[in-house]
């Protein structure tokens, strides 16, 4: 049975791209801004095209942040944060001032370093170095290529990092903490490699929760 994946609509993400890709990956996506819908979902995707401060404000404004926190942190439903959506999982961001994040993961968001010759935003297809294959990169190449479009990066403890990429130094490409996942790149825009990642995320949703 296809897993019901709720795509959190906080007014700013490319929710339709994510929804199209999840459908192609065999999931049953539901785009919703209504916190009452979260109990229906088996898992969540927190998309991200936007600025941090406004995103976290929108998430908190209508009770979505609280509802998600209950489903993810207490009921332990899997979630995948994409780009800004991953950054929102951390403690705080310096994008446009200082903003507190959801704080589910011990992590901080910083601007990409200003270096001569390093164009920002980091835009385009870059390969990642996979450190932890299971579950999101199981069966993928060692250095698969994904699409990135961002000006900020996340910093966290090395044991949470499941993949890295090179841009102005080594950066966090993907992270995971038990059932909480994040990618700095956009699987919904990474062709077959991205759809495969969504399929593996869906399989992770189906797996029994092991603590």
């Amino acid at each position: 049975m296809p897993r019901k994946v709720l795509i959190v609509d906080y007014g700013m993400g490319n929710v339709k791209s994510v929804s199209n890709a999840l459908t192609a990956a065999g999931c049953l996506p539901l785009v919703s801004a209504d916190p009452r819908d979260v109990v229906l979902a088996d898992g969540f995707v927190l998309p991200g095209v936007g600025a941090f401060g406004e995103a976290i404000r929108n998430l908190r404004a209508n009770g979505m942040a609280d509802a998600l926190t209950h489903e993810v942190m207490t009921r332990r439903k899997p979630i995948l944060g994409i780009c800004l959506g991953m950054q929102l999982l951390g403690n705080e961001s310096e994008e446009g001032g200082r903003h507190a994040g959801l704080g589910w993961i011990e992590a901080r968001v910083r601007a990409l370093p200003a270096e001569p010759g390093l164009r920002v935003p980091h835009m385009g297809w870059n390969d990642i170095h996979v450190r932890t294959k299971e579950p999101l990169f199981a069966g993928a190449d060692d250095a698969p290529t994904y699409y990135f479009a961002h000006s900020y990066v996340i910093e966290c403890s090395p044991d949470l990092v499941s993949a890295t990429f090179q841009y102005g130094g080594e950066q966090v490409g993907a992270l995971q903490q038990h059932h909480i996942f994040g990618t700095q790149f956009h699987p919904e825009r990474s062709a077959d490699a991205g759809l495969a990642l969504f399929r593996r995320f869906a399989q992770r949703i189906e797996a029994p929760h092991v603590d």
């Binding site: 935003p121 385009g124 297809w125 870059n126 390969d127 000006s151 062709a191």
Partner: protein, 280 residues
Amino acid sequence: MLTERLVATVVVRDGWVVQSFGFQRYLPVGHPEVAVEFLAQWNVDEIVLLDISATRDGRGPDFALVERVARRCFVPLTVGGGIRHLDDVHDLTHAGADKVSVNTTALARPALLEEGASHYGRQCMVVSIDVRGEGAAARVWSRCGTEATDRGPVEWAQAAERSGAGEVLLTSIDRNGTKCGYDLAVIRAVSEAVGVPVIASGGVGRPEHFVEGLREGKASAVAAGNYFHFTEHSVMVTKSALLGQGAAVRISGGRPYVAAPVDGQGRVGRVADFTFDERS
């Protein structure tokens, strides 16, 4: 390593994909959703969908068209044409666009770039700059090349970057449809003047033109429109040609990239269908 992007520009006029020649003559190609699906399946790195009738007709973007096109497109999709308000950016990202390309409105009201960047991040805001004339005489034109401005491409690109543009799509109107290669001087001047990525556009007729755009033009990405139409697997055979010329292009696993023949006209030759794997 960050690869060098090969971008397909899909120009839509009155609902049809067209080939464009100097922004004046247009040759119909087919349905936008078909063109986009094929280009995406052929592993193009990014697609820019430009609705060139929107501004002319004084209307906003065709959101229903974007929804249809986005359904089978799993590579980044930038949409331009008729974007006038922040609401248009919202509605386009909700229809399936990842980025928006703003041209005429950005010139008239650069604050739109700033508003878009503060809501959606600067990576979402592409400034599209159409240029006529070369060297010191180069000027930016608005309204799909029908209205002259007094702005130079370098000065406007820098101003747009300050306003919030995260990328520049730089098109030479003179070169568009000529197949004689990019205006490398203006591409290089703009690429060296801004810190955001620059997409070169206008004039590609041969695979080596892309390489020139990257090497001599110093562009981060290279685009073509007309070039990709009417050739089966045009993106994949082009990437194989670019690989042979030392460009760092993205090669997707599972599909063979065979050396493609390029004829004297610069057209990439057809490769037998059986050499390409079926999509799994």
